[in-house]
Amino acid sequence: MKSEILYPGAFPMVRVDLASGECVKAESGAMVAAAPTIDVESRIEGGLLGALSRKVLTGEKFFFQTLRATRGAGEVLLAPTVPGDIVILELDGVNEYLVQKDGFLAGAEGVKIESRMQSLSRGLLGGEGFFILRISGRGQLILNSFGAVHKLELKPDQEYVVDNSHLVAWTATTSYNIEKAAAGWIASFTSGEGFVCRFRGPGVVYIQSRNPGGFGAWIRQFIPVSQ
């Protein structure tokens, strides 16, 4: 599997080239176009329970489609729902990433995806739900962000504090705590319940330059309320 980011910037798209028989796991709804040699299998990743946990418990559209080049090599075009950067990471069997559930766009066949629960306190206080994706294995992992993506590189024991809603993904070697945000972190249009993640290296944290919740709140004020 080979992939290339087309039109980098606000409205990118990924072209994934599949050799005959190869497949890519894509977030359902991500497929824009595909060669006629590509078939869509709705194979359930992680068994029925895994799929249930993703679909029901994350309260998400989250369900993979497996796009397979069953009838010969071909390409697939994938795009995220929101405007923003796409990043391609290489998994080598040793590194692992934790990904916010909206951040996953696609992964190679050798990429293993599990939904994981954060501890209750992390999840409840964090506000972004109990479930995140733990992604390991081998091959390319394609993530998308809302806005531009920014990479924070943490050396051993180096700390960094990130607003929760700006998180995209982080390596499994980074530890983190969710903390109530001190004044000043909280955007004025949100409810006032702000949470931040305190990360501790070593590892890499990918953050997005826009806050989906904040953007939603901003949009809402322009939507006429009926009755």
Binding site: L49, S53, L57, D92, G93, V94, N95, E96, L98, S115, R116, M117, S119, L120, S121, L124, L125, F130, R134, E153, L154, K155, P156, T171, A172, T173, T174, S175, G201, P202, G203, V204
Partner: protein, 381 residues
């Protein structure tokens, strides 16, 4: 390029250091009786003796073995996650490092348990919902509360106590503290199979109230001591308060307030989750109003406790009567303990049914205790 790198196919660990990329460098690690040997593709194999190593658990789930050492003055950190590697590390590790490794193993086990909680919470939520519909939510709350370990309770109580006492002046010594301690001891000595170590704090404040927080933290305001006409009245209030703790009424209120999520957290054993939730309520914990049933229960058990401690229950009844008559006292006590004349009546009837006894007086002079608090105003209600 002289930075270490590795053909990723043979890598089994990630190495970090201040001079290495933040994402880590894949490397190959072997463990032998000599120590840990590490190899990057373009560098010679380096062996680090066990004596130079420090270990801890790390990673998202605390399920990785983190090994640290210094190589030519530069700190190196290796994350091992392959079970086979961790097993061979355990096999060869010398006794000096064993204690650290054991600690690591504990957190790994905890991590595995947490992983199981994922499924348990899912199944538990459904089960809890069914049970709640079948048994009623109250029964489910009681079942959950019965499962809360005392240590959790203490953590919750401690956090509530800290919030309650923030900015308050604590009276640490003097006749008032000694008196409250004596009264408390008389009562707690009579509690059979007491799982709590009751800790009394006297707070300088005109508030006429006392709290017993989950886990056995008792807080008495000097306002209550000033307004009490006798130590038996204070004993009555404390007897009532202690029973709120013993009967876990506070926990019941907390779990009820937090709802189904808390019930599931308890069954699944997520202590941090419950305490996090409880902390979120913050000071509300302390001011949670008890229900009428809980009040009656605490009243009656309190009365029995007084009787066992050979303290006259007249003081308790008298105080409750005064409470239901006086507006001045009511404001604070009533906010946390709904009070009614009927409660004093109920106590009178219960006291009459207990075998008669000669009460034993306390070893302090109540007038002196009140004088030590300044401004003597008992009986001016």
């Amino acid at each position: 390029m002289n930075k270490p790198s590795m053909n990723p196919l043979s890598a089994n660990a990630l190495c970090f250091g201040s001079d290495l990329p933040a994402a880590g460098v894949p490397c190959h690690v072997d463990i032998s009786s000599v120590g840990l040997s590490i190899q990057f593709s373009d560098l010679p194999r380096e062996t680090v003796p066990f004596t130079a190593l420090a270990v801890e658990a790390g990673g998202f789930d605390h399920d990785q073995l983190v090994v640290k050492w210094a190589s030519n003055g530069v700190g190196r950190t290796v994350y091992l996650k392959e079970p086979a590697l961790i097993v061979s590390f355990r096999q060869f590790v010398p006794p000096e490092l064993m204690a650290d490794l054991e600690r690591t193993a504990v957190s790994v086990r905890r991590a595995r348990q947490r992983r199981r909680t994922f499924l348990l919470v899912a199944v538990g939520s459904v089960l809890a919902l069914v049970l709640a519909l079948w048994l009623g939510f109250d029964a489910l709350v009681r079942m959950a509360v019965a499962r809360i370990p005392v240590e959790w309770e203490q953590a919750i109580g401690e956090s509530a106590r800290r919030e309650l006492l923030a900015g308050q002046t604590v009276v640490t010594e003097g006749p008032a503290v000694a008196a409250v301690q004596e009264i408390t001891k008389r009562l707690t000595d009579q509690i059979e199979e007491n799982p709590y170590r009751f800790k009394v704090t006297v707070v300088q404040s005109d508030i006429v109230n006392a709290f017993a927080l989950p886990g056995g933290y008792v807080v008495v305001f000097t306002g209550l001591l000033k307004k009490a006409e006798s130590p038996e009245e204070v004993a009555g209030v404390l007897g009532h308060e202690l029973n709120h703790v013993l009967l876990r009424h506070g926990l019941e209120r907390i779990v009820k307030t937090l709802g189904l999520v808390a019930v599931v957290a308890i069954f699944v054993g997520d202590q941090s989750g419950l305490i996090g939730l409880a902390k979120r309520l913050g000071i509300e914990l302390v001011t949670l109003k008890f229900g009428r049933e809980q009040e009656t229960e605490a009243d009656l058990s309190g009365l029995h406790l007084l009787h066992r401690a050979k303290i006259s229950s007249d003081g308790m009844i008298r105080f409750f009567e005064r409470l239901s008559e006086s507006d001045k006292l009511q404001v604070e006590m009533l906010s946390t303990h709904p009070m009614s004349a009927a409660r004093a009546e109920r106590l009178k009837a219960e006291a009459a049914s207990l075998p008669g006894q000669t009460p034993e007086p306390f070893g302090f002079d109540w007038i002196k205790v009140q004088e030590s608090l300044g401004h003597w105003e008992a009986g001016t209600l």
